[in-house]
Amino acid sequence: MNAVNEWVAKPVVAIALLLGMFCCGAAIAQAQAAAPAAAGALAPGLKLTFTSNGVMDSRPARLIALSVPANTPPTPFLQPGAFTATWEGLVNLRIRGEYTFLPVGAGGVKVLIGEKLALATSGDDFTKVKSEPVKLTKGKNRIRVEYTSPERGDAIFRLYWSERGAAEPVPPGVLTHDASDAGLRTKLTMHEGRALFGELRCVRCHVDPYPGAMEKKLEGTGAMITPGMPELWKDAPDLSNAGARLSERWMAAWIANPRALNPRAEMPRLFKDPQPAADIAAYLATLAIPIAPDPRDSGAPQVVSGARLYANLGCIACHTPPDYVGADPVIPARIPHEHVAEKYTRKSLRSFLKKPNANFLFVRMPDFRLTDAELDALVTYLYRKPTELLLPMPQGDVDRGKQLFAATGCLNCHGPLESQPAVRGASLAELGKFKALGGCLAADPASRKTGPDFTLTQDQRSALAEFVAGDTTSLRRESSIEFAERQYVQLNCAACHPRDKQDDVWSGLSKEIDALFPGHASEESNGKQFAPDQSRPSLTWIGEKLRPEWMAQFVSGHVQYKPRPWLRARMPGFLAGSTNYSLIAEGFALEHGFPARSPDLPKPDQELAEVGRKLTGKNGGFSCVQCHAVGAQKALAPFEAPAPNFAYVAERLRPEYFDRWMMKPQRVLPGTRMPDFADSEGKTALKNVFDGDARKQFDSIWNYLLEGTKIQPPP
């Protein structure tokens, strides 16, 4: 087995590598993944290098595609303006083939396979180029793609290829690069340092010399970002009513050692001894009418429905249940729920679940729009653990706690964003000069002195040190591609969604779910009308697939319908209190080489739409209506493969993706229940419409789908 296949067979490690190097936003979560790669190790994606005005930056890229809106930098470490982007690595094939490379975009592009020039063109519209097929061998093929942006305006570039039949973006599954590449590692250290700087809210203490950065007014309730790194405006839980939400006992334990309670905690450990933690907790408990946890009853019938929800909504993909015992097999470790009943009252737990961002805009927990009954069930389930697990803490002193709270700089993070920090650390400029690993970056408690303990790995400490000594002006710039990727990790998209060769966490937990909710398996098979596949959509093509406007609404939980109503899973609202969610959608679009905004939906061509309507029907059509609902009309016989409602297709999907999907769904999403209707010659079995020309037929269907919610089912 060659090296290429090794990462294919071990996606967990490979993805962790990718995340560790690129998505370092999850430094805390991914601490164990940030180890340097062994020499010659291959990682998914290509190495992507940007150059602009003589400055260079590199990161891995899943796709040979890129979009950089005018006046934005291609990476935070470069200034906005013209740039070149070079992708390098390997194309790994299982059989030789002759591929034609088909670029889309403007500027200049060159594609080299090994030493051979496969394609070179420039101008306003790459699609005008007539390219010749190139032979690719079985196994590894060196690829280098050089893209030069236009002098000004938006830079847009996507590289498609085709062997036989329809073109497709060069799929991420065939691309690898040398993970140990020294140039790439150096640059990635900077990216990682920058991400940690944002994630850990370093700017709250080390604010100088960036008065500008903190002066930005906030927009409404949401943090305003552009330009600059959105995480700089990351708030922390508002503690002004902490006493009414959190138990004193739990707060004391938390402050004493946050990561002991939650392996993904961002809060640093500030005290070596328990006493000051107890004191602060005692003080915080006075900030509202203090509360004590409610008594628990384990026999309530809602426990069962709560467990069912815990499984069906996917809580279990990000958390371990209250009574979970043993090591968590999931990487990164899930956030445990074992202390929930000691942390909250029933009421405050309910409030948190109902509106997770009420006290913390950047909270990772999304809003599931839980109904009252669901809230009751979940609270009962989470709250039932009968034993107290937190270690005893000393009695806290309110006055001492109050003093400590001010003196320790708690309000730097927990205070209002606009306020000046109460406790200042060294300014960034000073930090850069030191480059020494002291203070928060010290490895041992003695050298850390009073600095907070973030429990960083050696690599994380050096990354931060390198970063503060490097280009910290990059904090004022952002690439939403990188922001989206950081959020992909932060918000744990992979818990529910597969991407590339990586399975989602949830689908690997069936045994745990069986144990959690013993009726689960039989409930699935006893499904009354359908027992459809419950897997969530893959995110491999997400930026190409979804219109960013719709994606933004969906990610933030503002879409009123369920695109896949048969799923027990529910897409919750992320970053619902902030405006950052639109950046995630934008980032995915740009990553796939599409503009940040998609054009307004055109009016359907009535004549074509009529043809399309007929083509979707049973009489003279593909009988799409068998599995797809059309507006108010249910799918006629979806069996185990129900499919999205036609009324919502056009507002969700890009036409480019729809075209590709229709021509060869099995190629876009191997194993999908959507069958291939077109053969490799681009013909369908319906010869009497457009002479069997699949593309024309599917275009008519697209026009029909453009009728949107006014769509009428075929006769």
Partner: protein, 1123 residues
């Protein structure tokens, strides 16, 4: 309550008199097993329990013997002993109704273990949760005493007087059943149980859900039984009915007990987006806590005195809630609102009155409404009457179709009156009504006026999980019991379960004759031959259902079932017949007689009595037609053949597809979907259609310009197999193989002869009977699908025959199960040397579509349908699996190319895909009796899901037929196509064979010597599947069985044979694997590029002993619980 306890004590007996009837309020033991009586006990899963020396002992397994009583908190006491040190059993508690699945108890209840030697959990353990503090069991052979106390979630296990286990359960049910395990090895039986008794303890936890007491209302008016049901159309959410909206329908409903069903709700014509509102009163007789259980799909709310008591309003949460309310004797205002969105609908309200241990439905008189309340509501009654009786005008093909004089189907007259093999016969002038004849019980299941069938069901409107029923007003019904006897005493049903034929010597359905509008059924009772024809004569609004019965001579009287005991229905018999009441029904006795006679029986509403009397008068009977004269065929019905013009394929290749254009437009609006195909010796073809027809196609020549389609037969039960033997048509329907005779040679069948109907049919919608093939000796074979649930997963009723390949002898007299364990085997093939093949579809226990060779006794993989004890742990390795993404999601049948005019593939096996409408060349080899091989797809497209094929007798080409049901890329409902060899060179791989170090592939043509030996031009990958009860399987790496991935297999060398036609690929490793894909991009010697993939399975590698992963233990999802 006291009386009840006494009764229990009297009925079940109390051992040793040790427990006296306790005082009111104190716990009283209930004896579940007293040494004799097993009332209330049921076996779930494999094995059974017997009584031996007053003790229960199980054998076979692994199964569960459970008692239907449900307990909340309780003390269970029983004695047990083992006769073998390694004996393994246990007592299950607190599981829900397991139906037939013992795993319900394992997964949802708790097991108190009995097994001193088990590795992890020993006697006294809460199995898989907590071990006992000590093993307190007595030596083998001595009786032990268990006392199991369960309160709330706390379990106390006392064994022989010692507390050995205290356990707090996680979230398991707080009530449930009690059961005993038969855990193999149990042969000979080695665990015994006796004196099983339960003392129910007063529940503690229910107080939380008990509401404040309600006061009776002061209702003075007259109350009548039933609730006023108002039905509102177009309501998208519960409580979204506008205040002043008029209901679509108002009616009185006796009860709210509508089980989950698809389609029309409670005869309202409403299916989706409607709300029902029931209002009225609840009469309470006893003071105390009353528990109301409301179950619905989708939303519902129960109000008492305008207070919400139960709310099933939240979606995604269990829609099955209960609440307890303190009530006093008196009357309460009751309201239930129920809304159904899309999909199935259900609404059921049950209650527990004080002292009830089980929830019950409301008995008559508990649910009431104020007299006249329903008439006070304004609604469009006239409009409703029109809708109710309107002829179907949906325009849908199943409504437009003229089905002919009768339709055979599983017909549900009502919930308790399902005719598995019924014939709905149109009767009366202008088809005023319908009767349903039951060909198994030889009875009329019912008669109705105003319409035919509601066209509800999988072959009609496509609905899953339902069968058609009356579309009209049911006038009479009869109970679903044996409807005849030779003699005068009714016979009881000997079958155990209500499927399959009764003993032939008792009586037998022989077939039906068609003569004009008249359907004459022919059957025997004992040695008596009977012909009868049903008719309907309308007397104003009322219909008189009339049976005219011709009986041959017999020295025994004949007993015939007539109708239910129903006060609204009257029965009159012609002179000479005698009426009899028995078994809740009315019967007619036809006396013994020495010559053939004609009799009449009339069934009708009371109002039509005068008229009916006339019809059964002797004069009228004498005037009745001689039914024996009606058996020779009457006038033709479908006289005009439909002509179509075929279409020749235009492909410039070795094979092209010609289309024998189906007469989609035809005078009978017959909905054509082809499910059976064969040829007469003169070159004409016959096809059967899923909607019940047989058509004969003539004019099949090279040009296909004048194809003639003639309707030959109608009304068959989803006929998906057709075989012509000696130019006589045999058709397989779900109910039987029918042999057709056209007595008067008018091109239409007059006699639909019951050739063999021994196959059991259950009401499961998915029990398709597929294909009909014969072997060289003339025996018939067909395959019957498993009773898949609506939705595709799991099973409904398992009979002896569903999920089997079945064989019927040449003369139709012998029927046998030939092979077992298929799921949805849409097609078979029988080839030279009587090689029998069958395909199957991905689903439960079928990890992917597969193609298998079948032998007598083969088990093909679906464990739940193995019909074997013990359940097999390995299945006959198939020729190959087929991945659903690239190749097929739904297999069709096979055909052998017995022709030498079809290119280079003489004597080769072809396989069809229904799902992807494609045709495959199969290559397989036999290795030590084990087949292995794979498929290569022909680059051809078909218009429908092809599943039947035959070789045309004249041109020796391959003809395929298929249909569009669901889950197929078909673009036509029906296709009959010809795959024609054009004579051009065939350029594709033809055979392949697994070698110790690689694979050898032979092509139909020499290859280019450069491209053929370049290993870069080949890609080989492989993966395994999980054989489990899940629906299908993901694709798993061989190297790392937990990873969902394909393993690439390095092609280290490619060598070309001297004749340049065979390539030997050397692979880095050759192992048994469930799925391999071999892709090749090579050139022929003349430079034509080829890109083909072979999808194959390796069961055995020559020279190696290792067998495939699929031959080992089932990878059940229940593995964790298996001991």
């Amino acid at each position: 309550m006291k009386l009840y306890c006494l009764l229990v004590a009297l009925i079940v007996g109390i051992p040793n008199g040790s427990v006296a009837v306790a005082a009111e309020g104190e716990p009283k033991p209930v004896v579940l097993f007293d040494g004799k009586d097993t009332t209330g006990w049921h076996q779930a899963g494999p094995g059974k329990f017997d009584i031996k020396d007053g003790a229960l002992t199980g054998h076979g397994g692994m199964g569960l013997y459970w008692n239907e009583k449900e307990f909340g908190d309780f003390i269970l006491e029983l004695d047990w002993k083992t006769t073998d040190k390694g004996a393994n059993s246990g007592i299950f508690v607190r599981f829900p109704d397991p139906k037939n699945d013992p795993w319900v108890a394992v997964k949802q209840g708790h097991e108190i273990q009995i097994c001193d030697t088990e590795a992890h959990y020993q006697t006294g353990a809460i199995y898989s949760f907590k071990n006992p503090t000590e093993i307190a069991s007595k030596p083998v052979g001595e009786w032990n005493h268990y006392k199991i106390k369960v309160v709330g979630q706390h379990y106390t296990i006392e064994l022989n007087g010692k507390v050995v286990n205290e356990f707090d359960s996680p979230d398991r049910p707080v009530k449930g059943r009690i059961g005993l395990q038969n855990h193999p090895p149990t042969d000979p039986p080695n665990v015994y149980f006796k004196d099983v008794k339960v003392t129910e303890l007063p529940a503690k936890a229910q107080a939380a859900s008990t509401r404040a007491a309600l006061e009776p209302v002061n209702e003075k008016g007259k109350l009548e039984p039933g609730l006023v049901g108002q039905y509102f159309k177009g309501v998208a959410a519960l409580d979204a009915v506008p205040a002043n909206a008029a209901p679509f329908l108002v009616k009185i409903d006796k009860n709210i007990n509508f089980k989950s069903a698809e389609g029309q709700f409670n005869k309202t014509k409403l299916t989706n987006d409607f709300q029902a509102r029931w209002t009225g009163f609840l009469k309470v007789e006893k003071a105390g806590p009353h528990t109301f259980m409301l179950r619905s799909d989708d939303h519902s709310k129960l109000y008492l005195n305008d207070q919400v008591v139960v709310d099933n309003g939240a979606w995604e949460v269990q829609k099955d809630h209960e609440a307890t309310v303190e009530l006093k004797p008196g009357v309460y205002a009751l309201k239930v609102d129920f809304q159904n969105g899309p999909g199935q609908s259900q609404c059921q309200l049950h209650w527990k009155q004080p002292g009830d241990s089980k929830a019950k439905s409301f008995k008559d008189g508990s649910l009431l409404h104020a007299k006249g309340a329903e008439t006070a509501i304004k609604w469009d009654k006239k409009g409703w009457d029109e809708i109710k009786f309107a002829r179907k005008d949906s325009g849908a093909p199943y409504d437009k179709m003229d089905y002919g004089p009768f339709v055979q189907a599983t017909i549900k007259v009502d919930e308790n009156n399902v005719t598995n093999k019924g014939i709905a016969i149109k009767v009366g002038k202008d088809h005023a009504g319908t009767v349903c004849f039951d060909t198994e019980l030889l009875r009329y299941a019912g008669g109705w006026t105003g319409g035919f069938l509601d066209n509800h069901g999988v072959a009609f409107d496509g609905a899953h999980g339902v069968n058609p029923g009356p579309d009209g007003d049911v006038v009479f019904q009869s109970p679903a019991i044996v409807g005849f006897a030779a003699g005068i005493e009714p016979k009881s049903d000997p079958r155990g379960k209500p499927y399959g034929p009764l003993p032939r010597e008792w009586g037998r359905y022989k077939g039906l004759y068609l003569n004009g509008d008249r359907t004459v059924v022919s059957y025997t009772v004992g040695d008596r031959e009977i012909l009868e024809t049903p008719t309907l004569v309308m007397a104003g609004e009322s219909g008189v259902f009339l049976r005219t019965i011709h009986v041959e001579a017999s020295d025994k009287p004949t007993l015939l079932l007539v109708a239910n005991e129903d006060a609204a229905v009257a029965v009159l018999l012609s002179p000479g017949l005698e009426q009899k009441a028995a078994n809740g029904a009315r019967w007619a006795i036809i006396p013994a007689n020495s010559k053939a006679m004609t009799h009449r029986i009339a069934v009708f509403p009371q109002a039509a009595e005068r008229f009916a009397k006339k019809l059964v008068a002797q004069d009228e009977v004498d005037k009745a037609p001689d039914l024996t004269k009606l058996t020779q065929g009457g006038p033709a019905r479908w006289t005009k053949p439909v002509e179509t013009k075929g279409e020749l394929g235009k492909d410039d290749a070795a094979y092209t597809v010609d289309t024998l254009t189906a007469p989609e437009e035809n005078p009978y609006h017959s909905w054509l979907r082809f499910g059976g195909l064969d040829f007469f010796s003169d070159g004409r073809a016959a096809v059967s259609t899923w909607s019940g027809d047989v058509w004969i196609v003539s004019g099949i020549d090279d040009k296909l310009e004048h194809l003639k389609w003639k309707r030959f037969a109608t009304g068959l039960f989803q006929p998906l197999g057709l075989r012509i033997v000696n130019d006589q048509i045999y058709v397989l329907g779900r109910d039987r193989i029918t042999r057709f005779t056209d007595s008067n040679k008018d091109g239409e069948a007059d006699f639909y002869e019951n050739f063999n109907s021994d196959c059991q049919v259950t009401p499961s919608f998915h029990e398709f009977a597929f294909d009909l093939q014969t072997d060289s000796a003339g025996n018939f074979y067909f395959a019957k699908a498993g009773p898949v649930r609506p939705g595709g997963q799991g099973w409904e009723i398992r009979s002896d025959h569903n999920g089997c390949v079945l064989k019927v002898s040449k003369d139709g007299l012998k029927f046998e199960v030939f092979a077992t364990g298929v799921r949805a085997p849409n097609g078979m093939g029988i080839g030279p040397g009587d090689v029998i093949t069958v395909g199957d579809n991905e689903g439960t226990w079928t990890p992917a579509c597969r193609l298998s060779i079948v032998h007598k006794g083969s088990f093909l993989g679906v464990v739940d349908l193995s019909k074997k004890d013990p359940v097999p742990t390995a299945y006959d390795p198939p020729i190959c699996f087929l991945p659903h993404g690239d190749v097929d999601n739904s297999s069709g049948g096979q055909v052998w190319v017995t022709s030498d005019k079809w290119g280079p593939f003489t004597n080769r096996l072809l396989h069809m895909s229904y799902g992807t409408c494609s045709l495959f060349l199969v290559s397989y080899e036999m290795l030590d009796g084990v087949p292995q091989g794979g498929v290569i797809r022909f680059p051809l497209q078909f218009a429908a899901g092809i599943c039947r094929a035959r070789i045309g007798p004249k041109d020796q080409q391959v003809y395929v037929a298929g249909l569009r049901g669901w889950q197929t890329t078909a673009v036509k409902d029906a296709a009959l196509q010809r795959v024609r060899y054009t004579g051009k060179a065939v350029k594709m791989p033809s055979t392949f064979s697994i070698k110790p170090k690689g694979v050898e592939i032979t092509f139909t043509t020499p290859l280019d010597s450069v491209s053929a030996v370049d290993a870069n031009n080949y890609s080989v990958e492989q993966w395994n599947l999980h054989w489990s009860g899940d629906y299908g399987s993901a694709e798993y790496s061989l190297a790392d069985p937990k990873e969902k991935a394909h393993d690439p297999v390095e092609v280290t060398k490619a060598e070309l044979s001297a004749d340049q036609k065979t390539v030997l690929l050397t692979l880095e490793d050759v192992k048994p694997v469930m799925q391999m894909k071999i892709q090749m991009k090579v050139k022929t010697a003349d430079g034509t590029a080829m890109d083909y993939s072979i999808y194959n399975t390796i069961n055995k590698v020559p020279g190696k002993s290792e067998t495939a992963a699929n031959e080992k233990k089932p990878a059940t999802t229940q593995a964790a619980a298996v001991r």
